[in-house]
């Protein structure tokens, strides 16, 4: 264990990548994640790595494709509009089964939006923002320490499944500072990549490609990918449940919003209200199990997001009609404050707040204070 250091989330993510053996970074500047490329541009040359600022996000994700295909451990980071530009490349990476780690420090949209924190890229991250039937493994860290740990894990998981992995931060996680301890990584050993295009000396030629014109073959390829995604569903789900044993009401949130909800939960429990918290850590695969375990006794789930309601759809699928699901959201960089979450929590408990479907009909998904 090394000494704790005080780090911004963005810096910590960059340092974690380097300690995980990442030696290649491609990117393009965008707020609020610039500390990642800036940090990488200082640190990578020190460890014999390559930092390259591309001419666009489009180009940078394709550099990642080339580098990953050549067997490198690669990181790319951006924020919402930049991640949108990368979707084509991400689809190619998934289709060609190339490992890489993508960080999205998301900001408010749609369009150019703003630069304040947001969780409105949940759909894009978890439902496949690009074309075709593919999945990213998506982590939603809530603390900087967790962001570090997940970054390190992300590279291994990416290599294990030959799939892109996304770390979805919510802007806040990138900008705030917390003490971090980096695990000992002196033993990091990168896996062999016999499929990589490194020159065909002494073997048959390797090909990295996602073009499969024969419908039967492409069908087979897609189902093989699905088998892989099923393995990921079985093995990689991560979540945290607080007070699952004695709670009837549950707050559901990921990322920094979960920390706000935890505060609300603690306050409510001080007041004698049995409230729990479900915090998905993998946003894909979504932790359905966390809900299945408690749904038989749950009276309601309040999903809180910095969006007009995206993860809440997965919550409803997981709950599958067995309990009402409620929603509270702020968007565009407005962060839900603990008091208004608390207010919504008590409204849910007292039956004063509509469940999600009514909510959208009556409020247009808005969330006025």
């Amino acid at each position: 264990m090394s000494e704790p250091v005080l780090m911004k989330g963005n810096e910590a993510i960059a340092e974690a990548a380097i300690r995980a053996g990442c030696r290649f970074f491609f990117g393009y500047p965008i707020t609020p994640q610039n500390e990642i490329p800036e940090y990488m541009s200082k640190r990578l040359p020190e460890v014999g790595g390559v930092f390259l600022q591309a001419e666009s996000e489009v180009s940078s994700i394709n550099m990642v494709y080339g580098a990953a295909g050549a067997g490198g451990r690669v990181l790319i980071s951006s924020s919402s509009p930049g991640i949108s530009l990368m979707q084509e490349g991400i689809s190619y990476l998934a289709g060609s089964e190339l490992p890489c780690v993508i960080v999205n420090m998301s900001r408010g949209g749609p369009g150019l939006g703003g630069i304040q924190p947001s969780q409105a890229d949940y759909f894009q991250a978890t439902k496949g923002g690009g074309h075709g039937d593919y999945r990213l493994i998506v982590y939603g860290p809530a603390t900087i320490q967790e962001a570090c740990n997940l970054m390190m894990k992300a590279f291994d998981v990416a290599d294990k499944y030959r799939n892109p992995v996304m770390v979805l931060g919510d802007g806040m996680i990138g900008q705030m500072m917390e003490p971090v301890v980096f695990p000992d990584t002196s033993e990091v050993r990168l896996p062999e990549k016999p499929w990589a295009t490194t020159g065909n000396e002494g073997r048959k030629s390797n090909l990295i490609s996602s073009i499969i014109l024969d419908p039967e073959e492409l069908d087979a390829h897609n189902w093989r990918l699905q088998e892989k995604y099923n393995r990921i569903r079985e093995n990689e789900v991560m979540y945290e449940v607080a007070h699952g044993d004695d709670s009837e009401w549950f707050l559901v949130a990921y990322g920094t919003v979960a920390r706000i909800c935890r505060k609300v939960m603690e306050q409510a429990r001080k007041n004698g209200v049995k409230v729990g918290l479900i915090r998905p850590i993998t946003l894909w695969p979504f932790p359905d199990k966390a809900f299945k375990d408690v749904v038989h006794k749950a009276k309601g789930f309040l999903c809180v997001e910095m969006s007009t309601g995206q993860m809440v759809e997965d919550v409803r699928l997981a709950v599958n009609g067995k309990a009402p699901v409620y929603f509270y959201g702020r968007t565009g960089g407005a962060v839900p404050n603990p008091k208004s979450v608390e207010k919504r929590l008590y409204e849910m408990i007292s039956g004063k707040t509509p469940v999600v479907s009514d909510y959208w009909e009556k409020r247009g998904g808005g969330a006025a204070e």
Partner: protein
């Protein structure tokens, strides 16, 4: 008897999907010859683009990556930065390189990326069925310029080699034509130089090859060569725009 000419070793023993007389086949063969002569087959990585040459990896026997449309120079950059001692080339058509991938080629050149770019200019989109390319000639009829390319509506043909040659990072930029054996021989020397530059770590090289598309031009293979000579050469003059011997 002594062999004067044999099928290059780096060219796979398969029939290509190209139309009869398509000069892609010549360009592939020249690439394979150069790879053989430089002895770099085992350490060369190609980047195939989107266009008729999307399956280049089926014909040239080296490791390959298939790139998204226009992004081959970015993909090649990624490969080269991970494996600086390997030889990396892209093989791109005019739609891929001069239109959708204009930014990628310009910036790869500006970075002086130590890669080799083979640029096939046949003044039309072949793969998608004969639409207008950025390199289509004025007056040229295509499926999306049925009345002929009109400068007022569709702009002018893009002279990519001249453009890239203005970039400091570009070390070698040359245009050759594949319309007769003499020019083919010159093209091969250009390709060889572009690869040798990379081996010597000199930086970005691009070879533009004027090519035919007899199918979409609606001409016989022989007449397509003639059309190239008569119509393309005046618009796209041949020569080494940058990196001539002694330069």
């Amino acid at each position: 008897m002594k062999p004067i000419y044999q099928r290059p070793k780096s060219l796979k023993q398969v029939v290509t999907h190209y139309c009869p007389g398509c000069t892609h086949g010549i360009a592939h063969r020249l690439l394979a010859e150069v790879i053989d002569e430089l002895g770099i087959q085992g350490k060369t990585i190609g980047v195939a683009s989107v266009g008729c040459s999307v399956f280049a990896y089926n014909y040239i026997d080296v490791d390959f990556q298939q790139a998204a449309h226009g992004r081959a120079p970015a993909v090649a950059t990624g490969i080269k930065r991970v494996l600086p001692d390997r030889i990396v080339f892209t093989y791109q058509g005019d739609g891929d390189l001069a239109s959708i991938g204009a930014a990628e080629i310009v910036h790869a050149a500006a970075r002086g990326e130590n890669i080799t770019v083979i640029f096939i200019n046949n003044a039309i989109y072949g793969m998608t069925g004969g639409q207008m390319a950025p390199t289509s000639l004025l007056g040229q009829k295509t499926t999306t310029s049925p009345a002929g390319r009109d400068a007022r509506a569709q702009g002018y043909p893009l002279r990519v080699s001249e453009l890239i040659a203005t970039i400091e990072g570009a070390r070698y930029v040359a245009r050759f034509s594949l319309h007769n054996p003499q020019n083919i021989q010159r093209a091969k020397q250009g390709i060889k130089k572009a690869f040798s530059n990379q081996i010597e770590g000199k930086g970005f090289s691009m070879v533009e090859l004027l090519s035919t598309c007899s199918t979409n031009w609606g001409l016989s293979p022989q007449n397509a060569l003639k059309w190239l000579e008569e119509n393309m050469l005046p618009v796209y003059p041949l020569g080494e725009f940058k990196g001539k011997e002694g330069e």
